[in-house]
């Protein structure tokens, strides 16, 4: 997957090899196009780079991370739970990849620059959006209306699910459409008890279901089922969870039409004002720092939400002086992320003679129940919970008293069952949350960096507070004791569901992309990652990015065949 040839002109250039770049590579090569994928970071070889089975006893700092090294080189990345002692190598060096913010408004921009991008470390939760989401802007007037509805994307959800393999349980809920699921993972004893208690108290209004995740529970398309080692974010040698390295890129590679070029830092796109098309890409070689150019008939920008928008902002021309394809003026605006972490935990009494066998890399999910059939006074839209129950491990001993033989023997057994709910809330599109180019700073390759202006506003804060209250209420209903509610002050970005800044829309005056993820202003330019999102839902976005990408590829190739592109 690292064949490097001096390119002629490609049928398509894809910028980024992560979640959406991988899908674009698969779809476009399978449809017969000769494709170049430009990846800013290094190649990934699973046999060499995946570390999910390395025991904690082999790690130098025994899971406590190389604190001094990460404080120096990854002060932002290290705030992400997945940037641990094993997986920190999949996160960028912050000193090489700077960005700026307003001093009192931190934004945690979590990034992965390598083949596979963040699809290597993602949390794999895979949910369909519904018309509750696609109609949200139209209904309450925030942001601009989506140019598509659920019916437009439904066949593409089917399509990407059938390839990726999504485990889950059908529930028949209108706000969280069922998918083409592989068998669900089992809930554990405490989760089953909590689920039943919630059903008794809240009926069909609140439903706790097993997480829907891009992890195989049976052999699927030649990939082996999960072996339940647990830490997927460190890689998976059996390719049992979906990532571009595990699933899409190998398929693209097999067509013989893929050229994947790592160490290719994209500086900007080349726009020809005569033909009104992008003709190619300016690249800085990541290792030699040499300037290069590549030509393509169509260009898919799949570099991740903010990197993609940064590329367009850095591609300003005399005509598009505020950024390529920005006649609308909304490029860079309406940045969103899910507000995360309001919730609670508590001890579920009982089941002390029962355990869970296997490390389930997936939790439970409580779909949105606010402003679904109810109408809330204090906030618009809603939130959903992820969570899990687990028996506490030896770590509980750190906060207990006692020592010696009986203490040691007590820690050999697992502790009580602890149930946790933490919420993910919808962020309203707001033009005052935006990014621009910081003219004072460049990254290690000389590319101007972003300045990010983003903060949580009243509606998000109200959601966060309600998440805490309602989580505690569900735990109370389940008979939990020692309930700890929380309402943490996480900065935007840390949820790593950053979306928007180049939104889709029907009106070229109010949006960057049309309903096919094609730039209104530049017909052979497509953006299919999180930048295209017109609203944020409260639902994890990756599955929607996948579906939109496959859909956009289908459209682009059909237009090429008709001679329209």
């Amino acid at each position: 997957m690292s064949s490097v040839k001096k390119p002629e002109t490609y049928d398509a250039i894809i910028i980024g090899s992560g979640m959406t770049g991988g899908w674009a590579a698969k779809e476009l090569t399978e449809k017969g196009l000769k494709v170049l994928v430009l990846e800013a970071g290094r190649p990934i070889e699973p046999d060499r780079d995946y570390v999910e089975h390395v025991p904690i006893s082999e790690m130098k700092f025994r899971g406590m991370n190389d604190r001094r090294e990460t404080l120096k080189n990854q002060p932002i990345q290290r705030t992400c739970y997945a940037c641990d002692e094993w997986a920190s190598k999949f996160f960028v060096n912050d000193t090489e990849n700077p960005y700026t913010t307003d001093p009192e408004k931190p934004f945690a921009w979590i990034r992965g620059r390598q083949v596979g991008g963040k699809s290597i470390m993602w949390a794999r939760q895979s949910y369909r959006w519904s018309d509750l989401d696609f109609e949200a802007n139209a209904r309450d007037g925030n942001g601009a209306d989506w140019p598509i509805r659920y019916a437009d994307i439904e066949p593409w959800y089917n399509y990407v699910e059938d390839f990726a393999g999504i485990t889950g349980q059908a529930e028949g809920l209108p706000q969280l459409p069922d998918g083409h699921f592989l068998p669900p993972m089992e809930m554990n004893c405490a989760e089953i008890a909590v689920k039943e208690a919630i059903a008794r108290q809240f009926g069909r209004e609140r439903v706790m279901t097993i997480g829907r995740a891009a992890i195989l529970t049976q052999t699927h398309n030649g990939r082996a089922p999960c072996h339940y080692c647990g830490p997927c974010h460190r890689g998976c040698i059996t390719r049992s969870y979906f990532s571009s390295v595990n699933a899409t890129l190998p398929v693209a590679e097999k067509t013989g039409r893929l050229t994947l070029r790592p160490y290719s830092v994209v500086h900007s796109l080349i726009f020809d004002p005569q033909t009104r098309r992008v003709t190619g890409v300016k690249v800085i070689d990541g290792q030699t720092h040499k300037a290069l150019e590549f030509q393509g008939r169509i260009i898919f920008v799949c570099a991740s939400t903010l990197e993609s928008t940064r590329i367009l902002l850095n591609s300003a021309t005399p005509e598009f002086s505020t950024g390529l394809a920005n006649s609308s003026g909304v490029l860079g605006k309406n940045l969103m992320d899910h507000i995360m972490g309001g919730g609670a935990d508590g001890i579920i009494p009982g089941f002390l003679d029962r355990v869970q066998f296997g490390n389930r890399p997936n939790g439970i999910y409580v779909p949105r129940f606010r402003n679904v059939s109810s109408k809330e006074k204090n906030f618009l839209r809603g939130y959903a919970y992820q969570g899990q129950a687990e028996r506490e491990g030896w770590e509980r001993g750190i906060h207990q008293s006692g020592f010696g033989e009986s203490f040691k023997n007590s820690l050999r057994r697992p502790g009580p069952w602890k149930m946790t709910f933490h919420g993910f809330g919808e962020c309203l599109p707001n033009p005052a949350n935006f990014v621009e180019i910081d003219k004072e700073r460049v990254d290690a390759w000389g590319v101007p960096v972003l300045k990010i202006h983003c903060e949580w506003r009243d509606n998000e804060k109200a959601l966060l507070h309600d998440m805490m209250i309602q989580a505690a209420e569900m735990l109370t209903a389940a008979g939990a004791v020692e309930i700890q509610p929380y309402e943490p002050n996480n900065p935007p970005g840390l949820t790593i569901h950053e979306m928007g800044t180049a939104r889709m829309g029907a009106d070229p005056k109010k949006s960057v992309l049309n309903k096919h993820n094609q730039a209104h202003d530049v017909k052979n330019l497509f953006m299919t990652d999180g930048a295209c999102m017109a609203s944020s839902s409260c639902v994890n976005p990756s599955l929607t990015y996948m579906a939109l990408t496959a859909r956009a590829c289908d459209y682009a190739v059909s237009q090429m065949k008709k001679g329209e592109l």
Partner: protein, 197 residues
């Protein structure tokens, strides 16, 4: 399920990959071994002896080896040398001096010269002191999730001893019997019979 059996079920192609991961682990092991057995870098020989004795009182040998055999002292020396801040290190080293002062005041000699019963009494005193102070406000942190050793000495000692022991090969393989590759998921199964206490 035995790890080898799990790998067999996962198919031959995967085994090569696991072997590569094992190779990665072996490299790490070799690097760690290079540091093993050498003199502590931060702890003096006398301080090291206190750490060895105190950690082994906290996690003694039972039907499995304890903290001393698991070389928890070497882990603590590594953390003090390459991980802790100067301030955290100072608290820890001062705590060791305090340990000797306490033992001297009560028994007329230093901690390592004390009998097992005397050492246990000192650890008991530290443990009760820490329990009493648990409800006091902890130092303010910029990030509540941030792992810190900016704690009273015995809280440091407690955390490092437990981490050092339970993440060691002895702690993982013999005490906790951790399976890296369970190979299956069962949500709700009977726990294994209680170990003999």
């Amino acid at each position: 399920m035995e790890r080898r059996e799990a790998l067999r079920l996962m198919g031959a192609a995967s085994v090569f990959s696991v072997l590569s991961s094992d190779l990665f682990a072996a490299t790490l092991r070799a690097q760690l071994a290079a540091n093993k057995g050498s003199a502590p870098r931060t702890l003096s020989p006398a301080q090291n002896e206190i750490v060895v004795a105190m950690s082994d009182i906290m996690i003694p040998a039972t039907d499995t080896p304890g903290a001393k055999t698991a070389t928890v002292n070497e882990f603590i020396d590594l953390i003090l040398t390459e991980w802790a801040t100067e301030e955290e290190k100072k608290i820890f080293l001062e705590g060791l001096a305090e340990t000797d002062r306490k033992t001297n005041a009560l028994f007329g000699h230093g901690f390592t010269a004390a009998s097992a019963k005397e050492q246990t009494a000192i650890v008991q005193a530290f443990d009760e002191e820490l329990a009493a102070s648990r409800n006091e406000e902890l130092p303010k942190q910029a990030h509540p999730w941030e792992l810190t050793l900016l704690l009273p000495f015995f809280a440091q000692m407690r955390r490092l001893t437990l981490v050092g022991y339970y993440t060691s090969p002895i702690g993982q393989d013999q005490e906790l019997k951790v399976e890296i590759i369970p190979g299956a998921l069962h949500g709700c199964v009977p726990a294994e019979p209680e170990v003999k206490q």
